[in-house]
């Protein structure tokens, strides 16, 4: 397993060009092309702002501007959920590669996660624009932690993507279950509501959700003034994510030989 993991480094050129291909292919043929990476999150933000400021306007005062608060969570969530949804299909749609070419299968889910990471990064300028517009107080020390949060999320997403992609080959139902599961997960994460709104019992439950700590970390760094107090939780999540990644890779490696026959 670790030998295979080390081999991944050799494939970085391949991963790099496949990510580039993925991005190029996605917007090929559309008029706005790469701008969709900016426009999509912007539109999403507009919809949520409309719903929560016009339709449902009751909120605690420390959450103003609410659109910005939500955006801090939705942007990384989009990366997370589209990665997993795409990963559930990636081995099956890439079946040709796995069956006919000597090809390291784990490259496919990894490419999916990385391509969505690029979309996430392209959405950041919108977020920065809002931060500047609302003149949010940002401390450089907190911002320095931002890449760390992204890294933890990357490891977590990769681990889950490996598990999901490998299992879907054997159980196609996962594709259908997953989209509902992701909706449930979305509402079980403090993204469109703050952690502080919950009773203590609810908070305990949500603390078991790894994405809670990612969302809260993003919010503390970008939205709330004051120190980044959630770093302990983030580190714990990072450790858990690393464990999950290794477990996911182990599972993927064990099922690897069955892919060529099952897809």
């Amino acid at each position: 397993m670790f030998r295979n993991l080390a081999q991944l480094v050799r494939y970085r050129g391949l991963i790099q060009s496949l990510v580039a291909r993925e991005l190029k292919a996605r917007y090929r043929g559309s008029v706005l092309g790469f701008f969709w990476s900016f426009i999509n999150p912007l539109l999403l933000l507009l919809i949520y702002s409309f719903v929560f400021t016009v339709v449902l306007p009751n909120r605690p005062a420390d959450l103003e501007p609410f659109a910005l608060f939500m955006f801090c969570g939705i942007l990384p969530w989009t990366w997370f959920s589209s990665s997993l949804l795409e990963a559930s299909n990636v081995l099956i749609s890439g079946g040709n590669l796995i069956k006919k070419v000597l090809f390291p299968a784990e490259v496919l889910p990894i490419v999916t996660v990385l391509a969505n990471l690029v979309h996430f990064l392209l959405g950041l300028p919108i977020l920065v624009g809002f931060l500047v517009y609302y003149q949010r107080p940002l401390s450089p020390l907190e911002l320095a932690c931002f890449p760390l949060v992204v890294l933890v999320q990357l490891i977590l997403t990769l681990g889950l993507a490996l598990i999901v992609s490998a299992l879907t080959v054997h159980f196609r139902d996962i594709r259908d279950i997953l989209s509902n599961l992701m909706t449930l997960w979305f509402f079980s994460t403090p993204i469109i509501y703050p952690m502080s709104m919950l009773p203590p019992r609810g908070r305990q439950v949500l603390n078991l959700n790894p994405f809670t700590h990612l969302a809260v970390s993003y919010q503390e760094i970008l939205f709330y003034p004051g120190p980044f107090g959630h770093w302990k939780w983030l580190l714990a999540t990072g450790l858990a994510a690393t464990g999950l990644f290794l477990a996911g890779y182990f599972l993927f490696d064990r099922l690897r030989d069955s892919f060529a026959e099952e897809v």
């Binding site: 391949l14 496949l18 292919a25 090929r28 043929g29 040709n96 069956k99 006919k100 070419v101 054997h170």
Partner: protein, 454 residues
């Protein structure tokens, strides 16, 4: 030095059981069969205990029928699938021409696809850059290289895939029946490329149905049958043995088809007869097709004289269904006359698979005067020299009156196959030869593979 060494390789695939199809994660978890379902219940060995080795610099061919495990073997050598038991060792860089252009993404340009495909096959960006022009030249897609590959014709697609794979400059090239694609000139180009590979001392493993290619190119051949090795060694010997075996199984197939056709004819006749007054012989046979040549297969007639058996026999006198062009072949018609018949004609017709009458004759046309037919006996029609091209032929056999009233007519109920090494076209092959004046210089490119040694 060995380039490929396969030792006791067995690859077991799972046959999909009905249960497995409907297995879901939920049911698997509920019934606790998650692990059990991942184990196979019904297995079959696609490759069964196969060992062979290929010396570096030689060309090795694998032949065999569809489903004999050739492609699985190739995938095992390529490392795409792992053997269930045994081991495969390959020395040097491999490139597999299994599915060409498998990694192409339809939305992006040919140029980008060449790069990505090259990287997938193990080249570095710099190496591809160096070979890029050569690749595009070889694939003959210069004008379209910047268009997305979804706009390519299937030929262009495959050519580009082939070009990339072959320019990986492998030490070991695995080829799976890819020459079937592309036009003549591209096929020649590929063959030239293979020849060049050979000259440069590279190893080629070739899986193909083109036996001619195996005989021409390979230094050694392997014949797989149902996953097992049937023969290995000198390509001409292996191919010869393979051809003989294919002929035998075609023989069985044709015999089964004939039996089925005759069975159906009898059933059709019986149901037709029972519709008439039973027990009474109808004066005129019930369903004589107005135009015999256009009629489908079947059997009809009043049966005053009956054809009890038809055998097609070769030179050895043994009834068979597969013959070589040029053989001496006889159609042996056994008859039984229920009463003494004085007005009778034996007729024979040969038809090819498209239903074209290749030859037809009868005893009256050839000037025989019918006198009497009684009891059981046989009439033998002998073709001294079977001058037909490769293909399947059907035979009409009949006994009828001079005015055409049929006693027993077997329409297209008997068939045989003519095997010919030459792929000449048409129906009839006249016995012929070529002669050239000195200005036309020719040499014999290939010996007749039909005359393979045993």
């Amino acid at each position: 030095m060995l380039a490929i060494e396969a030792t006791d390789v067995t690859k077991i695939y799972r046959r999909y059981g009905r249960r497995h199809h409907f297995a879901t994660l939920k049911s698997a978890l509920l019934t606790g069969s998650l692990i059990r379902d991942l184990r196979a219940e019904e297995r079959f060995a696609a490759v069964d205990n196969v060992s062979f080795s290929v010396r570096a610099g030689t060309t090795f061919g694998i032949v065999g029928r569809n489903g004999s495990g050739k492609s699985t073997m190739l995938k095992l050598v390529a490392g795409i699938t792992k053997p269930t038991r045994g081991s495969v060792t390959v020395t040097g860089r491999i490139s597999a021409l299994i599915e060409l252009g498998a990694g192409f993404h339809p939305e992006i340009s040919g140029r980008e696809n060449v790069f990505i495909n090259g990287i997938m096959l193990g080249l570095s960006k710099r190496e591809i850059m160096r070979r890029f022009d050569e690749i595009v030249e070889f694939a003959e897609v210069r004008d379209f290289i910047d268009a997305p590959v979804k706009t390519y014709s299937s030929g262009m697609y495959v050519r580009l895939g082939f070009a990339v794979a072959i320019h990986v400059d492998p030490d070991v090239l695995l080829v799976d029946e890819v020459l079937a694609v592309g036009d003549q000139s591209f096929t020649h180009k590929c063959l030239d490329k293979f020849a060049e590979f050979k000259r440069r001392g590279k190893t080629i493993l070739l899986v193909t149905h083109s036996l001619e290619l195996v005989e021409r190119f390979c230094d050694e051949a392997l014949w797989l049958d149902a996953g097992r090795i049937r023969a290995t060694g000198d390509p001409r010997r292996v191919v010869g043995a393979y051809i003989t075996d294919v002929a035998k199984s075609e023989e069985r197939q044709l015999a089964a088809d004939d039996a089925k056709a005759r069975g159906e004819a009898v059933r059709a006749e019986e149901s037709g007869a029972s519709a008439e007054a039973p027990g009474e012989q109808p004066a005129e046979p019930p369903e004589v097709p107005p135009d015999m040549f256009k009629a489908g297969e079947g059997r009809w007639g009043s049966r005053e004289a009956e054809i009890t058996a038809v055998e097609i026999v070769g030179e050895d006198g043994v009834p068979g269904h597969v013959f070589h062009a040029g053989d001496r072949v006889s159609v042996r018609v056994r008859f039984a006359a229920r009463e003494v018949v004085s007005d009778f004609v034996f007729g024979i017709g040969l038809f090819n698979a498209e239903g074209v009458c290749c030859y037809g004759t009868n005893t009256e046309i050839e000037g025989f005067e019918a006198e009497r037919l009684e009891g059981e006996g046989e009439a033998v029609f002998t073709i001294e020299h079977l001058d037909l091209v490769d293909g399947t032929y059907k035979v009409d056999v009949a006994i009828h009156r001079r005015d055409g009233y049929p006693y027993d007519y077997h329409r297209l109920l008997h068939s045989f196959r003519v095997k010919s090494p030459a792929k000449d076209v048409g129906i009839y092959r006249p016995r012929h030869s070529w002669r050239f004046s000195p200005e036309a210089k020719l040499s014999v490119a290939r010996k007749d593979p039909g005359e393979s040694p045993d």
